[in-house]
Amino acid sequence: MSDKIKPIPQPESDRYWEGANEKKLLIQKFGDHIQFYPRAVSTKDGSRDVEWIEASGKAKLYTFTIVHQAPHPSFVEDLPYVAAIVTLEEGINMPTRIIGVDPEPENFTIGMDLVVDFIDADGQNLPVFRPA
């Protein structure tokens, strides 16, 4: 088994990953503009005036796939697993995994209610989602 791929935080995302280790899903807010993923500037107008807010953790399933062929040796032991994009209650889309559901297509409905959870990947928490 090869090592899991760990996120490589960048300066503008350190807070995001620290938040995950505190079991908080932190997102960037510039004025009334909320964005994922964390950046040095607002995608709306270039503002640097960033505020970090904790997301409610509620989300809906936007789309998903059930992975049967691992894209990297470290994920072979996870097969089959559910890769997804979810829409946070705050209105932004993020990639993630869905856990706590048998990975069969009929168990998933686009729009189903989800809630954030955190899994440990070698000392770094990753935000994942499970049915609400």
Binding site: K4, I5, K6, P7, I8, P9, Q10, P11, E12, S13, W17, Q35, F36, Y37, R39, A40, V41, T43, K44, D45, G46, R48, Y62, T63, F64, T65, I66, V67, H68, Q69, A70, P71, H72, S74, F75, D78, P80, Y81, A83, A84, I85, N93, M94, P95, T96, R97, P105, I110, A121, Q124, L126, V128
Partner: protein, 387 residues
């Protein structure tokens, strides 16, 4: 040629320049952050805003990752990387692009953290996808494109989408069975073969996915004047379109069922003065069956959600009314990694009448369309053998 080159002299101007907010030792900003800060500062210097930018130039990153980070959808893009000379050369390219009407406001950016990367060991793998998708096992095209296909199924019906994907896989194989260079030349495919093939990333079967082969290709382009002296004569470029609406993060794509072909198809047609009915051959990058379905709709051959009806009953197969990917495509002919160039090769050969058994009865105008990244970037060209 010298006169044309001289005619560009003085025909574009630099109107804004700036560094990122702080330079020197800046551990708190990523390389992409430096690009973005400098971009906004230079636009400020020019009295323009990010929404004015329609041409994007950088070196070291794909412009689609930079464009995604900036949150813009440029329709002229240049990721030419030739080391430190890149950005000066980008000025030459911008001069040409602006005078060709390809873009009006060109943004050239740079950002590196040479000093801090050494100290913080963040170099290599610092892109958004390395943080927000790879750790989940969301890597590579099949998983990402499968998520887009699942969204399409949700919007337009799972069964009819599945049938459309099967139609595309089977018709493309029929063309490959007429191309001696095709990887699957000797191997027919039935609908049952398609439906019985293993799951790679549900809803994708193995036979929804392109080949992985070894191959090379090249294209030579010259002026119409010089073309007169060539062995086979010209295949003219009538119209072009390019651009992207996100980068390596599929979650940033505005609509998973609409590629940027929605812009590049109409733009290429408008430039050429052509309509969809004028096109005799469509060569559409088929990284996956779904790529073709989404692209046909995005380019405008049919409306959103109408693709399954458009490709029904093997109309895209040999003898059908809409010849598509007559080489056998990335699905069944070849796909070494970035297949787009091969769409042009087949288009040129069909226009020249060189394709033997699979030669179309009439092929005067062909469309070749490439898709890059994760449905991120598209390029469309219209070609003709007409004089």
């Amino acid at each position: 040629m010298k006169a044309l080159r001289k005619s560009l002299s003085g025909k574009a101007a630099i109107v804004g320049v700036a560094e990122s907010d702080k330079i020197g030792k800046v551990p708190e900003i990523s390389p992409l952050g430096h690009h973005a800060q400098a971009a906004h500062n230079a636009l400020e210097d020019a009295g323009l805003s990010i929404s004015d930018v329609d041409g994007l130039f950088t070196a070291g990153y794909s412009t689609y990752d930079l464009g995604e980070y900036l949150g813009i959808e440029p329709n002229f893009t240049d990721s030419t990387i030739v080391g430190g000379s890149s950005f000066v050369i980008h000025l030459a390219h911008a001069l040409a692009a602006i005078n060709a009407g390809y873009c009006e406001v060109a943004l050239i950016t740079h950002g590196q953290s040479g000093r801090s990367d050494r100290a913080r060991n963040r170099s290599g793998g610092g892109m958004p996808a390395d943080q927000y998708t790879s750790p989940y096992g969301i890597m590579g095209p099949p998983i990402n494109y499968a998520m887009a296909a699942r969204k399409y199924m949700e919007m337009y019906g799972e069964d009819r989408t599945r049938q459309a994907l099967a139609e595309i896989a089977v018709s493309t194989r029929k063309w490959a069975n007429m191309n001696e260079k095709a990887y699957f030349y000797d191997k027919p495919m039935t609908f049952d073969d398609y439906h019985d093939s293993r799951w790679v990333s549900w809803p994708f079967h193995l036979l929804d996915c392109c080949l992985v082969t070894d191959a090379g290709a090249a294209i030579v382009v010259t002026s119409m004047e010089k073309a007169k002296d060539t062995k086979k004569g010209p295949i003219k470029i009538l119209g072009v379109g390019e651009g992207h609406d996100h980068g390596s993060m599929l979650s940033q794509m505005p609509d998973l069922t609409r590629t940027y072909g929605r812009k590049t198809g109409p733009r290429a047609l408008e430039m050429a003065g052509l309509d969809y009915s004028d096109i005799d051959l469509a060569m559409i990058y088929d990284s996956f069956t779904y790529t073709v379905l989404a692209t046909l709709e995005s380019l405008g051959f049919c409306g959103p959600g109408e693709g399954p009806d458009f490709v029904a009953n093997q109309v895209t197969a040999p003898g059908g009314s809409f010849p598509l990917n007559t080489s056998g495509g990335g699905l069944s002919y070849t796909h070494p990694g970035m297949y787009g160039i091969f769409t042009v090769l087949e288009a040129v050969r069909q226009l020249r009448g060189e394709t033997g058994e699979r030669q179309l009865d009439k092929c005067d105008i062909a469309l070749a369309h490439g898709t890059g990244g994760l449905l991120s970037s598209t390029g469309t060209v219209l070609l003709t053998s007409n004089n």
